[in-house]
């Protein structure tokens, strides 16, 4: 199977207040594949993934060199609008962060801010997104209750549904299961495999088994550098770099 390149990072260097957090990162992320990013805490995984939909801009005093392309569009070009990029590339965060609004309003939020007013279209889209996020059966009778009443795992799936309602191309997951129990984690993993059919997925994870189970490609970061990148199978069975091997066998990090 030959998938085309969806997201391309080209010689990325990133600095917080002159402190370098990413060093010369080059990665090709393939369309409709799951790419896992692993590495010890503080190695720059979040920093990297947040660049991919320009969420890095929320932190002041940063600088960047190099380029990131989504479908050959340079997303840091002065003509690129971060709002437009984020409508294509969604993000699910480490801690579930539903809005303090109803379940329905959470999912329809992205449509609403896009100026969509057609009620039946919104209702359809909400139902479809909740179904895709494997949450529909659990919430269909209480769509107008507060989203904060859901369990952590349900909240995280709601956040996924919220992306699915608007974002059509790629979803970035930054340790989506870090605060979840094993059962909720399994559900999210299952979901990611399902979403892969339609979306390009990048997932940061601390959990080796999770990376091994759910990803097609794996990137190993260490101290802001990309040590190794390749097919997940290869990374986990015959890593080229001794540091990769040490990390995946749990000898450090």
């Amino acid at each position: 199977m030959h998938n085309r390149i969806k997201i391309k990072a080209d010689s990325i260097n990133f600095f917080y207040n002159k402190v370098q957090a990413l060093k010369n990162i080059n990665i090709d992320i393939l369309e409709k594949q799951v790419t896992a990013i692993i590495g010890p805490s503080g190695c720059g995984k979040s920093t990297f993934i947040r660049l991919l939909n320009r969420m890095d801009e929320l932190v002041p005093h940063t600088s960047i060199t190099g380029k990131i392309y989504i479908d050959d569009v340079d997303i840091f070009h002065t003509s690129a609008d971060p709002v437009e990029i984020r409508k294509r590339v969604g993000m699910v965060f480490q801690k579930p962060n539903p809005f303090p609004k109803s379940i329905f309003e959470n999912v329809s939020y992205g449509l609403k801010i896009n100026g969509i007013k057609d009620k039946s279209f919104i209702e359809e889209k909400v139902e479809m997104s909740l179904k895709k996020a494997a949450l529909w059966s659990e919430v269909k009778d209480r769509l107008h209750e507060s989203a904060l009443k859901l369990s952590g795992g349900q909240q995280q799936r709601l956040c996924i549904a919220r992306c699915l309602a608007v974002q059509t191309e790629a979803i970035l997951f930054d340790e989506p299961c870090a605060s979840l129990d094993p059962i909720s984690t399994a559900k999210i993993e299952e979901l990611i495999l399902e979403l892969k059919k339609e979306y390009t997925i990048v997932i940061v994870t601390h959990n080796m088994q999770q990376a091994a189970r759910s990803s097609d490609y794996t990137a190993f970061f260490l101290l802001g550098e990309l040590i190794e990148f390749g097919k997940t199978q290869d990374i986990f069975t015959k890593p080229n770099d001794s540091k990769t091997e040490a990390y995946i066998t749990g000898r450090f990090g």
């Binding site: 984020r86 965060f93 962060n97 809005f99 992205g110 801010i113 507060s146 904060l148």
Partner: protein, 282 residues
């Protein structure tokens, strides 16, 4: 054992402090109610004063206080909220902005008679609004501004960064995020600021002394350029002027009771709105 005894004594002291506070609060309400209730009647609430303030009602003062408070909030809320949004959401976290923030907080400590003189110089004389509802509302509004700004700032800062990020990551603009997520979430806190300001504004005498208040007006205010009677000033005037101190004192207590009731009523409504909002948010 010994530790337990000291702890119990500690709790007892705290409890006594609460009792003392409650006694003060209770006695305020008791004395004002007991003395004020005597003069409260349908006539008192629905008619103007007669016979040199010794008879009749205080409706013009009630209406005046209502207009002044409403005017002050209409002026201060949009302005104060906009300032708070700018300071919290848009301005860079710099030294200058910190100075602005501290200055605004200090403004809250300026004695209200100073605001009164400012209002006289600026609104009454410079802008030539005269002694009027307009001048009084602006003056009271400026008094309320720091309260509204700091309460709004606190409410905005309490909105978690994580839900702002969620909104932005869904392709919302910064303004869209503020309008749809940040402001609704901060609303209960902002309302608290408004409640506090209403209480403060409705009861102030000094700021309206030279800018809006009249001891007696014939009939009711005709426009925002009319001078008005107002409850706090009416109380002050009844207690310091006139020739029938006993009758006037009784009326003053009646006015105090009405003022107290108005403030409690507004607070009650605002608290109810806040509770409802919390219910939705929780």
């Amino acid at each position: 054992m010994k530790k337990n005894i000291t702890q119990n004594i500690g709790f007892l002291m705290l409890f006594l402090c609460i009792i003392v506070t409650l006694i003060f609060l209770g006695s305020i309400i008791y004395f004002i109610s007991a003395r004020g209730a005597k003069v409260i009647s349908w006539e008192f609430l629905t008619q103007g004063p007669r016979m040199g303030m010794t008879q009749g009602g205080v409706l013009p003062a009630i209406i005046g206080t209502f207009y002044l408070t409403l005017g002050a909030i209409l002026f201060a809320l949009p302005l104060g909220l906009s300032c708070a949004i700018y300071l919290c959401e848009y301005s860079p976290k710099s030294f200058v902005v910190n100075i602005i923030r501290i200055s605004i907080n200090n403004l809250a400590g300026v004695p209200s008679v100073v605001f009164g003189l400012f209002g006289l110089a600026v609104f009454v004389n410079f802008f030539k609004f005269g002694v009027s509802i307009l001048s009084g509302s602006f003056t009271l509004g400026i008094l309320a501004l720091p309260l509204i700004i700091s309460a709004s700032q606190e409410a905005l800062m309490a909105v978690p960064q994580s839900i702002r990020e969620a909104s932005l990551s869904l392709g919302a603009t910064k303004w869209g995020t503020i309008k749809n997520i940040v402001l609704p979430t901060a609303l209960p806190g902002i309302l608290t600021g408004v409640i506090l300001s209403i209480g403060r504004v409705a009861g102030e005498t000094a700021p309206i002394l030279f800018t809006a208040a009249a001891f007696y007006t014939r009939g009711y205010p005709k426009s925002i350029f009319s001078e008005v009677m107002a409850l706090p000033y009416h109380i002050y005037a009844l207690m310091t002027e006139g020739t029938h101190p006993d009758q006037q004192k009784a009326i003053a207590y009646g006015c105090s009771l009405i003022l107290l009731f108005m403030v409690l009523l507004v607070s009650g409504i605002a608290i109810a709105i806040r509770q409802r909002q919390r219910g939705i948010n929780a």
